[in-house]
Symmetry: C2
Subunit: 234 residues, 2 copies
């Protein structure tokens, strides 16, 4: 079956969340006199991500957008870095750091090439506004924004992948999930999607063990998004 649409994981796969959040945190907090290890702070904030999503996936909490979860997680993490009594507007500005994540250098040109041959859509756990913010910040052009808000649930729950294929009126086998994370690809494959692994060795910082291709069969394994575009005949 011919691939018609590419569905993208975003955090880590297309954008450098760690470096960008560290930079934004410094930009917002340093002028207020706070001195943190900014990358460690980014890691700590991100470490709250999966537990927060798990509560929704498990049905312990109704669907809540990632923007809201990011804000809650921020308020939980800041005191552990000795930062307290922050104005609401500052917390909001900092939460929006996730809307200003920089793309990896190859993402924008590779997406532009791929868009001449395939429909492109993010299938992220980020909500629609968050995806629009990141797209505007980097110049990504999407055909549609799919993912968590459409399914009102989070990856790797099957409904998120299946609702994305359904929204494009495509069978899962005509959709290629592109991600830098094995767990995302394994879940997509279980739903019948085709899969492409893109290496992002710097996602967690130099020497901090980025993800490797999942065991078993994946359809493509690429050194970066430009390499994937080449493999797909772009």
């Amino acid at each position: 079956m011919q691939v018609r649409a590419l569905l993208f994981d975003v955090f880590g796969t297309l954008v450098d969340w760690r470096g960008s959040v560290a930079r934004e945190a410094e930009r917002v907090l340093a002028p207020l006199g706070h001195v943190l290890d900014w990358h460690t702070f980014a890691d700590a904030w991100r470490a709250e991500y999966q537990p927060a999503l798990a509560r929704v996936r498990d049905g312990r909490r109704r669907y809540t957008t990632l923007d809201v979860l990011h804000r809650e997680n921020l308020e939980r993490v800041l005191p552990t870095f000795g930062v307290g009594a922050i104005a609401d507007a500052t917390l909001e500005e900092l939460t929006l750091a996730w809307h200003r994540l920089d793309a990896w250098p190859d993402s924008v040109p590779a997406l532009a090439r791929l868009r001449t041959r395939f429909w492109l859509a993010p299938v992220s756990n980020g909500n629609i506004t968050l995806m629009v913010g990141i797209a505007r910040h980097n110049g990504f052009v999407w055909d549609a924004v799919l993912g968590a808000d459409l399914a009102r649930d989070f990856k790797p729950r099957p409904l998120v992948y299946l609702r994305a294929c359904q929204a494009l009126s495509l069978p899962p086998g005509a959709c290629l999930m592109v991600a830098a994370h094995a767990s995302d690809l394994l879940a997509a494959a279980t739903c019948g999607l085709r899969t492409a692994f893109v290496a992002r060795p710097l996602e967690h910082g130099p020497g901090h063990g980025a993800d490797t291709p999942p065991p078993g069969s994946i359809d493509y394994s690429a050194s970066d998004l430009a390499d994937l575009a080449r493999q797909l005949g772009g």
Copy 2:
């Protein structure tokens, strides 16, 4: 409150469904020996639209995409034009006529101008694939595709407008609904959105009574989309 996002009705407002469906029907059916009044056929097909949506809105039927409803309506209308025994592939090709609707001449340049200043998204009763097809056919660039599939209901039900604003994390007053139809704008205004009427005098053919601005207050009334872009300072 400043307008941040423009939300667009599509059928009639951005694209000429009547002329395009007539052309596509002739392209598909004439080679099979059928001779119809193609514009009358387009009108008859479209006349089945609101009754089909009403069954979903009223709860008599669960949410069904417009692509599916278009197909069902086509199968109901064709026999009334003396067309029977059509191959499934031909019915499917004809249903996809709605993915190949041509934009009114001013739509593409006006959207491009407006996108430099606002987030743009369709809020249509068309499903996501249908919106992607029309966008690809014409070169529309959207920030997100909102509307029926996201709300799993049809305009003018309030949830469709409210879920669109919510997806962009904007209060309704920061969203401007743009449509050539008074009923759409009145429903949006009831939800707190701002409203812009765009005249499309040829929607139903020359001299066939296009819609007029709704009574009461609307925020903008424009002679076409280029005029709206001018009024919004584009």
